[in-house]
Amino acid sequence: MTGIARLFTARRGVGRLHWTDWVSYAFLAVAVVLMFGPVLWLVLSSFKTPAALLEFPPTLAPVAQKEVRVEGYPQPLPLFSVPMEDGTVRQLAQVRRVGIIAQMVDPASPAATVRVPVDKRTPVREVAFAFENYIEPLAKFDFLRFLGNSLFVTVVATLITLVINSMAAYALSVYEFKGKSLAMLGVIGTLMIPITIILVPVYLVVTEMGLVNSLWAVILPGAATPTGVFLLRQYMLTIPRDLIEAARMDKASEWRIYARIVMPLSLPALAVLAIFSIMWRWNDFLWPLAVLTKSEVHTLQIALNAFQGELQTQWHYLLAMTVVTLAPVAIVFAFLQRFITTGIANTGMK
């Protein structure tokens, strides 16, 4: 018990490593495997051929059966290793399989055919990245256009979100005014409404505004996020009041106080909101699917999910495209991650 407690409380890192240090490093090592492993697995899997994807037991690295060209046969033949009766193991190419017997030839001397029971042979495999999982779908559709649409939606929506949310948060954190509690209640109340359950009414509103099949139909509805207002407000509450009063003494207009003092000081929180907004927008699927039917306005997420049919899901493409959509999020994360702690810490609802 004490040992475990020490694990969580000991604060001195000097000197020898206490066994609790080892335990916490073990904990972290497990965490790294558990947290990164699945994603790594996804990335590796995305390079597998459809056949390899379905294989059990799965291999870690993407592998494919080796094929050889053998004189006299127009198609490349799959290569197997076969234990011979004399105890040696030879690599043979399979010509055809009939029932449980395979007809095989030695690639070196293609004249003689060998008959081998199928369960005796094991495929010779080599690591092979199925880049075609990426190349084919990307070539098949207008990738750049969809990317462009997604980027436009993500960037514009994030900018709008940042601006209007921060303005509202500014009003709710810096001023005292009539109706403030009501506004806060509205924000916190809607914080908890999952968008899924008002999808249809929002669709109606958007249709009535004539926005269907316009990227604005995707951008506008989610722009005023209660989460964003809440997060920014909590952060802005930590900005010393003195600064705002100092700015007033410095003859700054309220707009300037917002734009020149409060906004720059809220950068960590803005960065957090930006990360979340980018993530929401980039990954958004259900809503764009409802309002965007024309392929020229399709976002990447819709386009990529076109690999999910009624009866078949083309997993090799789907996984590859999932990796493609992960990349930008990863980049944004790498860029902004150091804000996350400060941002969230200070919005830690103190």
Partner: protein, 338 residues
Amino acid sequence: MTSPAPSAAPVRARFAPFERLGLALVRLFDPPMRAVQRLVGVGRMPYVFLLPNALFFGVFVFLPIGINIVFSVTGGTALFPSQRPYVGGQQYAYLLDCGSYLEPATCREDHFWRGVANTLKFTIFQMIAMVLFSLAAALVLNRPIRGRGFFRAVFFFPVLLSPVVVALIWKWILQRDGLLNAVLTTAGGEKILFFVDPGWAMFWSVFVSVWAHMGFYTLILLAGLQAIPRDIYEAAEMDGTRPWRTLVRITLPLLWPNLLVVLVLVLIRSVQVFDEVFVLTGGGPGTATMMIVQYIYTTAFANQVQNFGLAAAASVLLGLVLFGLTLLQLYFTRRKAA
């Protein structure tokens, strides 16, 4: 109180061009905003700042909520409220028609109640697991270990994955011929069909949710831990406190405000859970992991008869529950402030 500037400072250099653009924008908007300020006076400026957000909110959140309420008292499959026949409380009555509220099977709309029960179960398990794991992670990350930033990122990055991707990844790992079963069989064990056993299905739903979101809560708790002054620990040490007592008597009580925040957020999020679990388990086996939001979604979209009325009624009920939770949270934060 220190201002948050130090962390903001290094960024400015990198964003210098953006900053110049920003300054230009500020200058552009300055004259009109000044005019507005002269017009309405300083005291009314907050309304001006609230206006854009409020407009968006009104049109895309409050109005739809209103329409939803209209949906819930009408029937049929027509989309436009004006074309839908008024049915009064029929949808609600249908949902609430139960032999015993503790036994979903006795309800007319048993799926709704199964959803409620499953959501409740999920929420409880997930709250416990989430708090335990994020607390453990936060406590470990709070130790003076090398590479803290890296490990923080390790825990946080799944937060950035979309729920669908998260579920896909894990489904891929947990399926019959997935990675985990491969590991189990190589270790000499039997394959386990995780999605056939209701217990396992619920377990993995909770596990995957915790996996995906614990980073966020870990950071909130970590912030709380780091806000506990070091000298309190030193005082405890001078007072001859054993580590376990330090954890129980010092750390946890001082972390309580942050723990409360985590509890409330986890609660709200788990009540709303949908895509993650849906993609992972499909709500099965049977209806063992079908959540309330999945019920609403299926009723409104996935069935051939898109029953907006019933779905809306269910969502209004859910909304009322969530609103209750909101008030609870407000109550707690108020009390904390006091």
